[in-house]
């Protein structure tokens, strides 16, 4: 037995407007075009890199706030980028030591 609601919906289903002329070719061209790659899109994914960089900046900022006298103009943050699955970020303070954050 047909459900009256389903029957009503099917008989009066909203019909999509016809696509633009050339839509098929446009879609095919877009599908075949090389996939755009992000500048930092390495194997690990760009989100991983963004997270790593953000944490390094927060870490560096936090240390500067807690020990302002130890962080002069010689302090630097070095981002060590590699294409492995475990990107590494180093916060380097030449007066103390190497702070390493791994993901």
């Amino acid at each position: 037995m047909t459900d009256p609601l389903k029957d009503f919906l099917q008989r009066n289903a909203p019909k999509p407007p016809a696509g633009d002329d050339g839509l098929e070719d446009r879609i095919l061209a877009a599908a075949l075009a090389p996939k755009p790659r992000h500048l930092f899109a390495l194997e690990g994914g760009r989100n991983q890199w963004l997270a790593a960089a953000s944490i390094a900046l927060v870490l560096f900022g936090g240390l500067s706030f807690l020990h302002p006298q130890q962080f002069g103009s010689t302090t630097k943050v070095e981002l060590a980028l590699d294409s492995s699955d475990n990107p590494q970020v180093f916060a380097v303070d030449p007066q103390t030591d190497l702070y390493e954050v791994r993901f």
Binding site: Q10, N12, A13, P14, P16, L23, E24, L28, A30, A31
Partner: protein
């Protein structure tokens, strides 16, 4: 004299196999085979005619680029519709972040506006009714009642148990019946 005419249709699997190796003609055939159903789904889900071409493009570009990852665990059409549903959900999320003007006036019609509503044709009425549903209910109604997909397939598409589909279908239909009843249509 009776002349037998046999129409040979290449199976989806064969087209998928060719298209995944970069055969653009095979992909074109898949597009022609499914584009109208996909457009129907997108339109009924989103009710945004101005963005329909772009959304259609997004779906098929994703499909084409993901073809090498398609393992054939489900039918190609199930996989394709799943991508289309995901694109709808992504588009909805983007719209929420960047709200745009709605093309039709309020989705719920207050009492006293029935006269205006009666002037709308029934397709518009169904489109409005669909937009009153929660997204998870609308997906199930569109796939099951409008696109005629079986519940088991919808469950696979949405990665939820069949029981969940039945439940959503029940509540969505009840809400639709009540909405239509309020417009003077008893179903």
């Amino acid at each position: 004299m009776r002349v037998g005419v046999s129409v040979t249709q290449i199976a989806d699997e064969e087209l998928v196999s060719k298209a995944s190796k970069g055969d653009s003609e095979a992909f074109r055939q898949l597009y022609r085979r499914y584009s109208s159903r996909v457009r129907g789904l997108l339109y009924q889900m989103m009710n945004e005619p101005d963005h329909l071409d772009d959304l259609t493009q997004e779906v098929f570009v994703k499909v084409f680029r993901s073809l090498p990852k398609f393992r054939g665990d489900s039918a190609f059409s199930t996989w394709l519709f799943r991508i289309a549903v995901n694109c709808c959900q992504d588009a909805r999320r983007k719209r929420k972040r960047h709200p745009q003007s709605v093309q039709i006036d309020g989705l719920m019609v207050a009492s006293g506006q029935e006269d205006a509503l009666r002037k709308l044709d029934r397709e518009e009425l169904v489109a409005r009714a669909l937009q009153t549903l929660k997204e998870e209910h609308r997906i199930v109604i569109v796939l099951h009642d409008l696109q005629d997909r079986p519940q088991e397939e919808i469950a696979k598409m949405l990665s939820v148990p069949v029981g969940t589909i039945k439940s959503r279908l029940f509540y969505a239909r009840r809400q639709l019946r009540e909405w239509f009843y309020a417009q003077g249509i008893q179903l």
